[in-house]
């Protein structure tokens, strides 16, 4: 993981910050420079809610080498009240119990460990609601 790129992604990876178009109200996660809907360039920073609804998911059995110790794991897309969809790993759940439509919660987790000596990458995963 490149440290400069990592730092740039902190606002959305750590705080779920999204950009809301000041003209048409469209919400983008991660943020964009130009609104896809109306072409406007001014945005307000908003925070995505911590609960989303699972729209679809898949179970990964042969992941990329960095994630092979976690196999098998679920990867899901949740829709949030702000209108955005976010993709993340679903953890702390029996894979047989993952259901489309279930409510999931965003939790701060370690996403990647760059070998023995590189930086630790943090961000969000989905977990069942307690």
């Amino acid at each position: 993981m490149n440290p400069a790129r990592y730092a740039r992604e902190i606002p959305h990876r750590y705080r779920l910050e999204a950009a809301k178009c000041k003209k048409c109200g469209a919400v983008f996660f991660p943020h964009r420079l130009i609104c896809l809907k109306c072409g406007h360039r001014q945005f307000e920073t908003i925070k995505i809610s911590e609960h989303g609804k699972l729209e679809t998911f898949t179970v990964i059995h042969t992941p990329a080498s960095d994630f092979k110790d976690q196999s098998p794991f679920a990867l899901g897309i949740c829709k949030f009240p702000e209108g955005v969809r976010i993709t993340a790993q679903i953890v702390d759940i029996d894979l047989e119990k993952v259901r489309i439509g279930m409510k999931l919660q965003v939790e701060f987790r370690r996403i990647q460990t760059d070998g023995h000596a590189g930086i630790l990458s943090y961000g969000y995963k989905f977990v069942p609601v307690i």
Binding site: I10, Y14, R15, E50, D69, Q70, V91, D92, E107, F108, R109, R110, I111, G115, H116, L120, Y122, K125, V127, P128, I130
Partner: protein, 351 residues
């Protein structure tokens, strides 16, 4: 008398995974019933590979913010006490402050003093607010500690975090008195580059845990002109289930005062998190006017003591987010030793 200061928000986080004493004992040919009896401990929490001191601190602080209902940008300092900071060099506090939206105008330090680092963070945060240096300050106690395989510590070393926001407005529990007590005592240590800590066996008991906990507790009672009967609750450091009950009884506290914050039997020893998480479990149920006696302990060795008094603001926020007992007792996954060893990186692999 200066204007009161105290806790304005608190929160806890515990990983969902557990391992039972029997499962560890089986692997090492140890007698589970005698460990369970000796340690008064049934199971412990285990962090999965994507949970560490930083992630547990963020989740505990998010809950503290829900109770405090303050703008995180107004938090002037963040202190995380832990003996398991994920980096050897690079602060945990910067990541946590960034995740909760408290950067960039904030002071930060990672603290270390074996199991006492968490209460140190709380103490320093309180002092800043008391001195009028800042409106709010955050003290976090978090650990994902390791015990060497087959060592007695392996049965207890667990993971968890508690976060406390200190302030002057809308106080949930006011601080009445504090006291700190320490000597140079080599009861437990870990040298640089060593993976597991070492301890001095029986020397960790009487001359270490008991001497400092009792020394701090007695001085604190004297300072406050109080006696054990004046408190609704008491919480002590919990390296196992047995020590906090025993030290409490030695001081004259009763089971009824200790059991609400006595988490070790089903949580294990969360090191820096231990007495702070016990305090959070007490705040979950305390009523206005209840006084709480708290003494931490960290090897090396020393204790921090606090006397808190719950205010009439506390009941309204107790249930706004997940409580400590729910995190302890609900949706648990029990691990076998193999998965536990993988989670805790105890298995030698090629990379």
């Amino acid at each position: 008398m200066s204007k009161p200061v105290g806790i304005v928000g608190y929160g806890v986080h515990i990983p969902r995974y557990r391992i039972r004493v029997e499962e560890i004992a089986k692997v090492w040919g140890a007698d589970a019933p005698s460990y369970k009896r000796g340690l008064e401990l049934r199971e412990k929490s285990v962090p999965p590979p994507d949970c560490d001191t930083i992630t547990l601190s963020v989740e505990a602080t998010k809950r503290a913010l829900k109770r405090a209902q303050i703008d995180p940008a107004k938090i002037g300092a963040i202190y995380i006490g832990s003996e398991s900071h994920p980096y050897a060099v690079k602060p945990s506090g910067t990541t946590v402050a960034e995740a909760i939206g408290a950067t960039p105008d904030i002071h930060c330090a990672d603290l270390e003093f074996a199991c006492k680092a968490g209460s140190e963070g709380m103490y320093i945060a309180l002092s800043h607010v008391k001195a009028g240096e800042m409106e709010y300050a955050l003290g976090i106690a978090a650990d994902t500690s390791q015990g060497a395989p087959s060592d007695a510590l392996e049965y207890s070393a667990s993971a968890g975090a508690a976060a406390f926001i200190m302030g002057r407005k809308n106080i949930l529990a006011e601080i009445e008195y504090t006291h700190s007590f320490m000597t140079d005592t080599p009861d437990f240590w870990r040298r640089e580059h060593e993976f597991y800590p070492q301890h001095a066996g029986r020397y960790t008991g009487e001359p270490a845990y008991f001497k400092h906990t009792l020394g701090c507790a007695k001085a604190l009672l004297k300072k406050a002109g109080a006696e054990p009967g004046d408190f609704k609750y008491a919480v002590f450091h919990q390296p196992n289930g047995k020590f906090p009950m025993r030290v409490g009884k030695m001081l004259g506290f009763k089971t009824k005062q200790i059991e609400q914050g006595w988490l070790a039997p089903r949580l294990g020893n969360t090191y820096s998190g231990a007495s702070p998480m016990g305090l959070a479990a007490i705040l979950d149920v305390a009523k206005p006017g209840d006084r709480i006696f708290m003494v931490s302990y960290g090897s090396g060795a020393g204790s921090d003591g606090f006397i808190w008094k719950a205010t009439d603001k506390l009941p309204a926020v107790q249930k706004v987010t997940t409580q400590t007992y729910a995190l302890l007792d609900e949706k648990k996954f029990y691990l076998d030793y193999g998965t536990y060893a993988k989670f805790r990186r105890k298995i030698l692999k090629n990379y």
